[in-house]
């Protein structure tokens, strides 16, 4: 139904979606110029929970920044801390034991499933269905329980250390994760029947919220957004970090460019994450979780380092400019949702407000991560 519409001047009005609006999942504000229910022009206004994490990264020592990264994205925190420890390991040349890398991969993938599950629930809630959120949260609680038993916290993990991990996993973790995999597969089938097959759901997403591949490129969209536009891009495959080259997994890609494609990508990604976890548990080697020799004070040599990781929302990059001291000289966080959200203004022009908000849901926004 969306498309170019003929608008006469003076017929529009301004609608403020947010900063407190149920669909924006936080404090995002979109100023929309509306013609009836059609959006003529949209302007996103950010910064309502901007906390200047980059400055904090500059005036604290490297270990002190560790907890900050999990505050970026409270849903998929481990992916972000993973990126942080990786860039500093790259800069300071710290070797990571294999066991630690495997545990990192397993926990990150668990966290990715948790994040996708919550997105799934919230997305269906954006469309007006409340019950799937509750089912998704129930499954997510399993993951959070597993992770809590290892890391000690439920959302804002501070688990990875430069060179390894805070503590080792135990047998309970392994058995609980093994038990979780078949359960999650069963649940995914249930979601498929309850939500994916639902005619109302499909009618609301099929062909709605088109984000073509070229727009993704121009705006730098990554993650499920670009994969839903037919772009086979996954940092885990593209420039394999950690031990991801050891795993056999697929990158789900859909070519429809619509909200349904993005939804399907994420649902398939959960399945792929389960595969990674399965393989990781099988291959988990014994050994230490921290390197034998690790500098007491981390002082990366002078230089400019970049590290990208695939988080639940897309490619997360950290640029670390070091001047050789114990603080970073420049600590740039390239958050995926920031780029994904920036295309919203252009993509939603001419859409109905319902569809635009459904599309916004399909972008999987976490506002603290955009605002940093």
């Amino acid at each position: 139904m969306s498309g170019p519409i003929h608008i006469q001047p003076g017929e529009t009005f301004t609608l403020n979606v947010g900063p407190q609006h149920p669909a924006t999942h936080g404090v995002l504000r979109v100023k929309m110029e509306m013609d009836g229910e059609y959006i003529v022009k949209a302007e996103t206004v950010l910064g309502y929970i901007h906390r200047m994490h980059e400055l904090m990264g500059e005036n604290r020592t490297y270990p002190q920044v560790l907890p900050n990264l999990s505050r970026l994205d409270y849903l998929g925190a481990l992916g972000y801390t993973h990126g942080h420890v990786l860039v500093i390991e790259r800069a300071a040349g710290i070797e990571v034991p294999e066991r630690a890398e495997y545990i990192r991969a397993i926990t990150v993938e668990l966290n990715r499933i948790a994040s996708h599950l919550f997105w799934f629930g919230a997305f269906v809630m954006d469309l007006g269905g409340f019950t799937p959120l509750m089912y998704a949260i129930e499954d997510r609680e399993y993951i959070l329980d597993i992770l809590e038993a290892v890391t000690g916290s439920r959302l804002t993990y501070c688990y990875y250390r430069f060179g390894g991990l805070y503590n080792d996993v135990d047998d309970d973790f392994i058995s609980a994760t093994r038990a979780f995999i078949p359960r999650m597969r069963k649940q995914l089938k249930k979601y498929d029947a309850l939500v994916t097959g639902n005619i109302i759901f499909r009618k609301r997403l099929d062909g709605i919220g088109i984000i073509p591949a070229e727009m993704c490129r121009k705006y730098g969209a990554t993650g499920p957004v670009s994969r839903g536009a037919g772009i086979d891009f996954d940092v885990r495959k593209n420039e394999p970090y950690s031990v991801y080259s050891e795993f056999d997994f697929d990158t789900p890609v859909y070519h429809e460019c619509d909200s349904l494609a993005r939804y399907k990508v994420r649902m398939d990604e959960m399945e792929q994450s389960l595969r990674i976890i399965e393989q990781g548990l099988d291959k988990l080697p014994d050994g230490p979780i921290m390197p034998k020799k690790k500098p007491k004070l981390i002082k990366p040599p002078k230089g400019d380092y970049y590290q990208a990781v695939e988080t639940a929302r897309g490619s997360f990059g950290i640029r670390l400019v070091s001047d050789g001291s114990k603080n970073a000289y420049r600590f740039k966080l390239r958050s995926p949702t920031y780029s994904n959200m920036s295309l919203f203004d252009e993509a939603c022009e001419g859409m109905l407000i319902m569809d635009a908000l459904a599309m916004m849901g399909s972008l999987d926004l976490v506002i603290p991560e955009i605002d940093r």
């Binding site: 910064g47 400055l55 121009k218 002078k302 740039k332």
Partner: protein
Amino acid sequence: MTMTNESVKQALRDLFPDPVPVVDEPASEDAEEKEETRTNGVLERDHAAYGYDIDVQLDPGELLAAVMIVDKAGFFLESITGVDWIKNDQLEAVYDFSRYDFDTCRIVIRTRTPRSTPKIPTISKVYPGAGWHERETHDFFGIKFDGHPHLVPLLLPEDADFHPLLKDFKP
């Protein structure tokens, strides 16, 4: 490095009229008060060590040409940021580009501008996604992006007149 990346590199090299050897090493230990300065040019980097492959430094005037080369080669814009080299009295803008397909190549384009009058042409005409990144960099560093259609604070409050990532910023 595949064909496209080689050709991009060559095209970027062609931007510089007389190829001078790029010096990247710290000049000497005694140059304490000044950061090492790098001459403009294209530099190849080890991906495993740095996380990027091609490192280009150029003058603001050549930026658009370089970005167009990168755009034509199908790169996507990853981020734009700044670095405050206060000892050199310079502000550096850093553009990260990457590719979607599986031949990994990350290009970093840097350009420096004087700290007192920081001015860099906008690339939002080529990459509309740069709009937000440039606004953010303007927020944090005060770099003016010439020709940007809507250079108002994005993450900072609309009446913010300070630039928190400048090294001489006192909260």
